[in-house]
């Protein structure tokens, strides 16, 4: 039984570096995250955003005594649970959460032997007794996070500081505690389908920047509602995580990532079936989570398992996350479903037919398509949602197509492309090795394939979060993105639905025979993280 970590949240911060396989691109991102400039880190699900934030955090923690730069990791993965009548609810919640995490980190770091006055602004109380237990600001943050259970309750936000007061407090705090700078690493910063939260987040992000505070945030590629004041590039470096799958060391890096987590048998099988492993690594298109999940299902790495997992996972399962979006956010249903049809019925078969011909003629193969920059907005939106799950990746924009027209080049997930092969273990490796960036299937500004979407004119209504949430809470744990072993454990404990897991405690999980405190926490963390992720998209 191999129990892979699909998510960074499950790994303890002090252990994170044990699982880190560094590439040159990773190093550039980590160093930028540790610098003074704010960064928005963009990447699809499972590509490794949280992991890089955690590595940057850990490296700064280890050097704190020297550099006096204090890293603080915060996740906003609970944004889908916030539901109050407060029009600025997200801003209030996010600010209270940031305050809470600053206090928590200071408390844990042992820097609070003398409690500085400035801390009272962040804590919402000057009573020093509050610092030992829960401060008013921490209570507010929790009240927001529990608001899904009683949306009509009023939350008293009077203890939340204004942005200016907050920034002053940070400045004073840094000076009083001899801290050079605080760096915030905000994970799951903007909810993919709640534009209001995105707007409030980016506005807050921009407003918070000052010489004593740097904000970094990880977001999905589809997040584009920046609000009125935030200007991408100008207000933050926009970095995208894209692993170069044609780099010389790509396969060996992916192999090392797996080896760090896998049991001996899997490592032995990889050693014996190197090319099959390479096929799975290419199929994952640079996404470690996709690779771990397929290895988990094909632990023998032999040809029959590899053929099966590519056909099943990349033809069925990978789409379930995408289609889940349309179940949860009904307003986007037409766009989401059209996107799937466009890729499955048009893009993939077309590229597959071309590749078959190319390979017969010993020519270069393809996995790219190009969309004219004047394509309808709904098409762009559909591709945006496809890039969230990593089925499509925006490769580069401003690319010249035929007749010098300008457009965007997209890459389809290689696993999805391989899933059209009869025996991927035989043919996929050759396709991957021969791919050329120059070959792409083009879709102009008025391509007939868009018609079925543009005729519908989808209604993009912002959904009622409570209705969505209630519908999700009764769903079975089977929908969660955790290993079969973990699912069975939850069911054995009587945690059958998402709601059950969300309301569970570590004590419940510890009831399982021989599941100790540490393991119970890890199991719960994995389950809860999967719940939040499920709700986030």
């Amino acid at each position: 039984m191999n129990d892979f970590f699909y998510r960074t949240e499950v790994i303890r911060t002090d252990e994170i570096l044990n699982y880190f396989v560094e590439t040159k691109e990773d190093r550039v991102i980590i160093d930028t995250l540790k610098s003074h400039n704010p960064v928005i880190l963009i990447g699809s699900r499972g590509i490794g955003k949280s992991f890089l934030l955690r590595v940057a955090q850990r490296e700064l923690e280890l050097k704190f005594d020297e550099s006096r730069i204090l890293p603080i990791y915060i996740t906003f993965h609970k944004s889908s649970l916030i539901h109050t009548n407060d029009p600025l609810q997200f801003q209030h919640w996010m600010l209270s959460r940031i305050c809470s995490f600053i206090i928590r980190t200071l408390r844990k770091s042992g820097l609070l032997s003398i409690i500085p006055f400035s801390l009272s602004i962040l804590a919402g109380s000057s009573d020093s007794k509050d610092y030992i237990k829960e401060t008013p600001i921490e209570k507010i943050s929790k009240e927001f996070e529990n608001s899904w259970q009683a949306p009509d309750n009023q939350i008293d936000i009077s203890s939340i500081p204004t942005i200016d007061k907050f920034k002053e407090a940070i400045e004073d705090l840094c000076q009083e505690l001899n801290i050079k700078r605080i760096i915030l690493f905000i994970d799951e910063a903007a909810h993919i389908l709640i534009p209001e939260q995105q707007r409030q987040f980016f506005t807050l992000f921009r407003d918070l920047h000052n010489p004593f505070l740097t904000c970094n945030a990880a977001v999905y590629p589809g997040v584009t509602s920046y609000g009125e004041t935030f200007q991408p590039i100008h207000d933050a470096s926009m970095l995208t995580i894209n692993r170069d799958i044609w780099a010389e060391d790509y396969i060996s890096n992916m192999r090392e990532i797996v080896e760090k987590q896998a049991e001996s048998s899997i490592i032995k099988n990889i050693q014996q079936y190197g090319q099959n492993f390479a096929t799975l690594a290419y199929a994952a298109s640079g996404n470690p989570r996709l690779l771990l999940k397929t290895i988990d299902r094909a632990p023998k790495i032999n040809s029959s398992q590899v053929n099966q997992v590519i056909r099943e996972y990349y033809r069925e399962d990978i789409w379930s996350e995408h289609s889940n979006l349309s179940d949860k956010y009904y307003g986007h249903k037409e766009i989401i479903d059209w996107g799937r049809r466009f890729i499955e019925e048009d893009i993939l078969p077309t590229i597959k037919t071309k590749n078959d011909e190319y390979l017969q003629l010993d020519k270069k193969t393809s996995c790219f398509f190009w969309v004219h920059r004047d394509a309808p907005q709904a098409v762009v939106e559909a591709l945006r949602l496809l890039s969230y799950t990593g089925i499509v990746n925006q490769h580069s924009s401003g690319i010249k197509g035929t007749r010098s027209e300008i457009g965007t080049r997209y890459m389809v997930n290689l696993g999805s492309l391989f899933s059209f092969e009869k025996t991927p273990a035989v043919s996929a490796f050759e396709i991957a090795k021969n791919i050329s960036i120059k070959r792409m299937t083009e879709f102009g500004a008025q391509h007939p394939k868009y018609d079925s979407l543009t005729k519908i004119v989808p209604k993009l209504v912002e959904a009622n979060v409570t209705d969505i949430l209630n519908a999700q809470l009764v769903k079975p744990v089977a929908v969660l993105d955790i290993t079969e072993w973990q699912k069975n454990k939850l069911i054995k404990l009587g945690l059958n639905t998402i709601g059950d897991v969300l309301r569970s405690t570590e004590t419940t999980l510890r009831k399982a025979y021989y599941v100790g405190e540490k393991r119970a926490r890890r199991m719960r963390n994995a389950a809860i993280a999967a719940v939040y992720e499920y709700l986030s998209g």
Binding site: A262, K268, Q271, Y514
Partner: protein, 240 residues
């Protein structure tokens, strides 16, 4: 009275042994036993070398491990399996250092797992293997990882980690799951042991012994280009 008590346990062990040879498991058992025969061939190949006594002890330990498995004494079977692994790698370690070997025979040196798999100087390190079989040295890093993992996995059973209690019953009885886990670990250990023995000795053994070992090695390691090249050049020299 005590005698009856233990005779009862002994008879349960016998029942477990019979189950292990039922049709479903017989091919696994054959494979497990075959590993022992394979290592015996290496004993013949290195006959006359001082480190042979360690490899002999290793074989004995493997036999005990298998016997414990057949009798349902699962924790003990992992203990001996791990010791088999340690002794095999120790024989290779000492083969390159007679001084340390002599200290060990005088009880003045212990065998230390960390030293055996040290990334810089251990028997699976690139620098160690390079000296004996340069072409295969680049592969060593993966075998090193397997060695470390499988040793730790066996240790979980030896030390009685919480997870292993879910598998190993308090009662003396056959367990399909643990039987298969043991086989999986022994297969992985055999894989590393075979690689380590090849790395150390293939370059120095005479042709007669190499011929005897060939099918066993190519069965497991023919995916390594260095092994393919070694045996094809062997074939070429034969044809000449």
């Amino acid at each position: 009275m005590e005698k009856e008590y233990y005779q009862e346990l002994y008879s349960k062990c016998g029942d477990i042994l019979s189950e292990c040879f039922e049709e479903e498991y017989v091919s696994i058992m054959r494979k497990n036993h075959h590993y022992l025969l394979d290592i015996n061939k290496w004993l013949e190949a290195i006959d006359g070398r001082y480190e042979k006594i360690l490899l002999e002890s290793a074989c004995q330990e493997y036999q005990y491990s298998l016997l414990s498995l057949l009798q349902g004494q699962y924790r003990h079977s992992f203990m001996s399996l791990r010791l088999f692994f340690e002794l095999t790698l120790s024989s290779i370690y000492f083969s390159s250092n007679e001084y340390e070997f002599r200290l060990w025979t005088r009880n003045e040196k212990d065998i230390n797992w960390k030293q055996l798999v040290d990334k810089q100087k251990g028997v699976l390190s690139k620098s160690f293997i390079r000296v004996f079989f340069e072409d295969i040295a680049d592969e060593s890093v993966h075998f090193q990882t397997i060695a470390e993992k499988v040793y730790r996995e066996c240790s979980e059973y030896v030390h009685g980690n919480a997870k292993t209690y879910e598998l190993i019953s308090n009662e003396l009885k056959f367990s399909d799951e643990i039987f298969r886990v043991w086989h999986e670990k022994s297969t992985n250990i055999y894989f590393v042991v075979l690689f380590a023995l090849c790395s150390r000795y293939l370059g120095v053994l005479d042709k007669v012994h190499v011929d005897k070992l060939e099918s066993m090695i190519t069965d497991e390691l023919s995916h390594l280009s260095a092994i393919q090249a070694f045996f094809s050049s062997d074939l070429a020299s034969e044809t000449e």
